[in-house]
């Protein structure tokens, strides 16, 4: 796992009720028992840590927020496009 993945998993654990659960890139966010307000906090933490903006909407189901790996991939893209800008 690279730095982006490690940092995101660290952020997830910070907001989880049971932070010692096993997390891999394949883990689904719903299996981590993350509720909507926790997810808003997680997105905020990710934005703050990586200096990116994620226009996440709690009312929409988006593929980027299905698994840990999809979040990592989305953030990687955002970091990349920010560096290119």
């Amino acid at each position: 796992m690279d730095d982006v993945a490690t940092k995101i998993i660290e952020i997830l654990r910070k907001h989880m009720k049971k932070p010692d659960k096993e997390i891999t890139l394949e883990t689904k966010l719903e299996d981590l028992e993350i509720e909507s307000l926790d997810l808003a906090m997680i997105v905020f933490d990710i934005e703050d840590s990586f200096g990116v903006e994620i226009p996440y909407n709690a009312n929409e189901e988006v593929d980027a927020f299905k698994t840990v790996g999809s979040v990592v991939e989305r953030v990687r893209q955002l970091v990349k496009s920010k560096a290119a800008a």
Partner: protein, 418 residues
Amino acid sequence: MTQSNGSGSSGARRVVVTGMGAVTPVGNTVDEFWASLKAGRCGVDKIVGFDLEDLYIHIGAEVKGFDPKDRLANIKDRTLPMADRYSQFAGAAALEAMKHSGLPVPVPDPYRTACIIGSGAGGLNTLELAYRDLFIRKKKATNPLTLLRIIGSSASAHVGIEFGVRGPTFGTVSACATASHSIGLTYQFIKSGAVDVGIAGAAEAVMNYGTMKAWQALRVLSAQGCFPFAKKRNGTVLAEGAGILVLEELEHAKARGATIIAELMGFGMSSDAKDMVNPDIEGPKYAMRQALSEAKLAPSDIGYLNAHGTATSINDINETRAIKAVFEGAAKDLAISSTKSMHGHLLGAGGAIEAIASIKAITEGFVPPTIGLDEADPECDLDYVPNVGREKKVTYAMSNSFAFGGLNAVLIFGPPPA
């Protein structure tokens, strides 16, 4: 003037509506507001009132063409025209409501009159300007009126000063249930005999960069529009404005020959005591049942329900479930609409203009629509009066307000007592 003893064979005091006033994104008076609701006009548009800077949500339902110099001309309270926008909205709506009621000004029995006008957040526009002055422009002091503009009770204080109200005067705070709580409390004050008249409602004006940032961070705003109960809904849309009712004990209103618009028949309130953002059906169910019980009505008596209907994915399903649980077999025949589809979410003030919409449904025999409802969510399967309003004789109407924190308030209105 002495306390009137109340009416009816049971001797219980009854509460009637004798005046209404509104400032909304779809009309700056009750008549304009109602004409828009009838026509299905939408007040949601690109925000123009402040610089959007880096916000990615660009839409809101702003009050348009509101000129405080015009609406607050010739008033007694010299400070109201200098107050925060939320207090100005309250003042304008209260002036309209009081004029409508025909009550003399100053009120003739000041200690037996209440002025309960809430706000979800108070003068946040003022707070933002003051903080910009202090933190960005490095000014040494705020405008001297800053504190008075910010406080959440300033709308009630200003309106109380204007009309000479000396009885219970304060603001309520319960996020999106604020107005329904203030109207409900005023109703209870009149019923209990504490006062005979009450100016009640709420005002909100929080359309500014900082507040929008905070809402955006909660991830519940739509970038497209407010589409309650629709499959495509993806969040609510912030709005601003005020709604004010003049409530009065029935015999008091009759004695002065007032025109009685409607009766406030029941009020229910509860708290989910569960979660700040995820509502439960138990709290809303209890509040609706309590209001029905107080009004001595069966669910099937309700002809129109103005839903809380915020267009968030969770509220609309939860509210639909709660309505089904309370109305059972009558749910399918109930005309329900979320007028937020047109005027957006006025937050603390929502319950007041939605109460006015519910009263108008009774007096005009017309149910306003839920616009933008091209395809309903399969889990929202009741009659939400999609897209076009309809003529319907409505005898009793219910208005739901369910706030963040699980705070619920429900009002039931009926026709003027025979």
